[in-house]
Amino acid sequence: MGLFMQTLINGILIGGIFITIAVGFSISYGVMHIVDFAVGEWIMLGAFTAFWLNMYTNVDPLLLIPFIALFFALIGYLFQPVIQKVVNIKHRSAAMMALAFTFGLSTLIRGSALTLWGFNNRNLITVLSEKNVDLFGITVPAIRAGATVFSILVTAAFAYFLYRTKTGITIRAAAENKTVAGLMGIDGHRISRLVYSIYVGLTAMSGVFIGSIFSVFPDMGLRYTAFAFFVVVAGGMGSFSGAIVAGLMLGLISSFVSVYMGGAYVFLILFFILYLILVFFPKGILGKGW
């Protein structure tokens, strides 16, 4: 029973981190129709920025989160017109172009990071690192708990923004139906730019947590791209509740499979489930995606 509860809690804490990324990712997919292969690279850049800033300023990486979020939001904002140019290309495989472009971008960023920062692993140490809380006999790693709580708070704030503010409602309108949104006089470009910048900011911010839970290295992005895809696709593009459920599912599956079946099967089963979900519930497990 203790193991079961521990596995359950672990599972929840693994998935929690990816919820924020999934939410940002799918809203940007809704508005711009881009599946971003560079999602892992934004995570990597966020983690590295935290690492360097921490090294030179000695400020705890967790306190740097707002700065990193804003900084990357700015980068996203400045970079978005380039992506937009790709989206607007008149081509028979326009979606393909965007997909391949982000793939190229991810290769470019990864190559630059490897060249600039070398191949070494780095450890991002925060005040919560490697501490734990004992909850009725279940050990909860503090950094993971912190990441999950933070992730839920950010997601809630983002949900509030999307459902309760005027800009947020406009974004949702744009995401759900571009033509209608256009008819209503919504400036698509402005919205796309805003959404992309939010997405990059949120993703880089999550990178701080991911970097401190695991480790920081230029190749790390590849791993987390897979997890982010799982949560986004399984949850259904653009669905909040879906992202949360899928995040939990990711965590619970990896946790339970590795404890009760053997770690060798974790990825096999994760990808198999992702494939089944795609084929049978293309709108996500809750059927709420676009």
Partner: protein, 430 residues
């Protein structure tokens, strides 16, 4: 004009293709050895040495360590007047090829080095996978290669003729830590073994398991997981089983994550046993005190009392390495540097001046099989039969323990500098 689905054309297409495919049998009548006459015609007074290793891709980190080792050998040799053959010293020039951590790319790269760069001999890859892909090509061109890194036992069972290894296979070395622990007055009774699903790490994990069973330690969990797995759930499960020892087969990244996950879950076994990777400077640098007391297996440490003419003592080697790369060399770097010395000795013995002819390469390979070279890394003598054909099985496997960020030899009995600390102090009381 539009036509209906061209059945007739389809038949023609298939017929042409079959023709071509059947022609290939005749077309390929020439054998590889004739096609690839790699005899060097250019005149040069230095040795051209190929280095094939992982300079990008997943294994870039280890790949660079092998490169550092090879580089340091070349630099040292050149500073001392080159390889002495007869009464003249010949400089060495390294030519690099990146295998991108991918066997197929490695096969291409090595073929390029042989046929287009016309290298005299080759210093080998970091990973076992690339070694296995490269070895048949070496057999084809009859160019000798020594790898200073690959440790998977399955390389040597294939009996490649021109491939040698200066590090004993993982199944020979990974058995020692648990053996040493089992001989303590309060030996561990249970062990949990985790391994990463790559050729080397899996071999290490299996060796851990085998040596535990042999030495009367119960294996309570054995799990081989894919690279990139989150270790938290696994460690939670292991924590419940409460083994005395957690043994991990992996590379430095996984070792780091295992220690971090254990600490964050409050799991503190009486010892962590690992293998290659804990001697990587990043391991101690990143984990600080948490890295301490980890057991590992190595075939060389900076403290060994070994010396040779080229580098001087092991300590001199460490100093040279540190001056150049600002890091402490591990046994892979040392083995790579020493690998060059085997070639030097063999070349000196047969008196082969650069560039090497095909016969001289053949002779070189023969000589490598015969000679024993004593280096700062230890004696290098390649096995000539058995399951470890062409592997340097002569080296004693050392048990090391990290203490204050330094590797200390704690076993086997005859070699140890200190007694092993077991059980090790918990993370929070260091």
């Amino acid at each position: 004009m539009f036509k209906k689905l061209p059945i007739r054309r389809a038949v023609v297409v298939l017929a042409i293709s079959c023709l071509i495919l059947s022609l290939t049998g005749c077309g390929g009548a020439k054998t590889g050895a004739d096609a690839g006459n790699s005899a060097s015609t250019e005149a040069r007074d230095y040795y051209k040495v190929g280095v094939i290793t992982s300079l990008s891709g997943a294994e870039v980190q280890g790949g660079n360590i092998t490169k550092y080792g090879y580089d340091l050998w070349a630099e040292t040799v050149n500073n001392k007047g080159g390889i002495k053959v007869g009464d003249k010293g010949y400089q060495v020039k390294l030519v690099y090829a990146d295998d991108q951590s991918d066997p197929a790319a490695g096969a291409n790269a090595v073929e390029r080095m042989i046929t287009s760069e016309k290298v005299d001999f080759i210093l080998g890859p970091y990973t076992s996978g690339v070694t296995k892909a490269v070895a048949p090509i070496l057999d084809k061109y009859k160019v000798p290669m020594i790898t200073g890194s690959a440790e998977s036992p399955s390389i040597w069972t294939q009996k490649f003729k021109y491939t040698f290894g200066s590090v004993p296979a993982a199944d020979l070395t990974a058995i020692s830590p648990l053996e040493t622990l089992s001989k303590l007055p309060n030996p561990p009774k249970t062990v949990a073994v985790l391994g990463v699903n790559d050729a080397f790490s899996k071999a290490v994990a299996e060796a851990f398991k085998a040596s535990a069973e042999k030495n009367g330690i119960t294996v309570v969990k054995f799990d081989v997981v894919p690279a990139g797995t989150d270790f938290t759930p696994l460690i939670s499960a292991i924590k419940q089983l409460n083994p005395d020892v957690l043994a991990v087969g992996g590379h430095e990244n996984e070792h780091m994550e295992v220690i971090k996950a254990s600490k964050s879950l409050g799991f503190m076994p009486k010892a962590f046993v690992m293998h290659y990777g804990i001697t990587n400077p990043d391991f101690s640098k990143n984990l600080g005190k948490d890295a301490d007391y980890t057991f590992g297996a190595a075939v060389w440490t900076p403290d060994l009392d070994l010396k040779d003419d080229l580098f001087g003592s092991a300590q001199d080697y460490v100093k040279a390495y540190k001056d150049k790369y600002n890091a402490i060399p591990d046994y892979t770097a040392a083995a790579c540097s020493a690998t060059g010395e085997s070639f030097s000795a063999a070349l000196a013995k047969i008196g082969a001046k650069p560039p090497l002819s095909d016969q001289q390469r053949e002779e070189l390979t023969k000589t490598l099989e015969q000679i024993e070279v004593n280096t700062f890394y230890g004696p290098i003598k390649f096995a000539t039969d058995g399951n470890w054909y062409h592997d340097n099985v002569g080296l004693k496997a050392l048990v090391i323990q990290m203490i204050n960020g330094e590797q200390v030899i704690v076993g086997p009995e005859a070699m140890k500098a200190k007694d092993p600390v077991y059980p090790v102090p918990a993370f929070n009381v260091r």
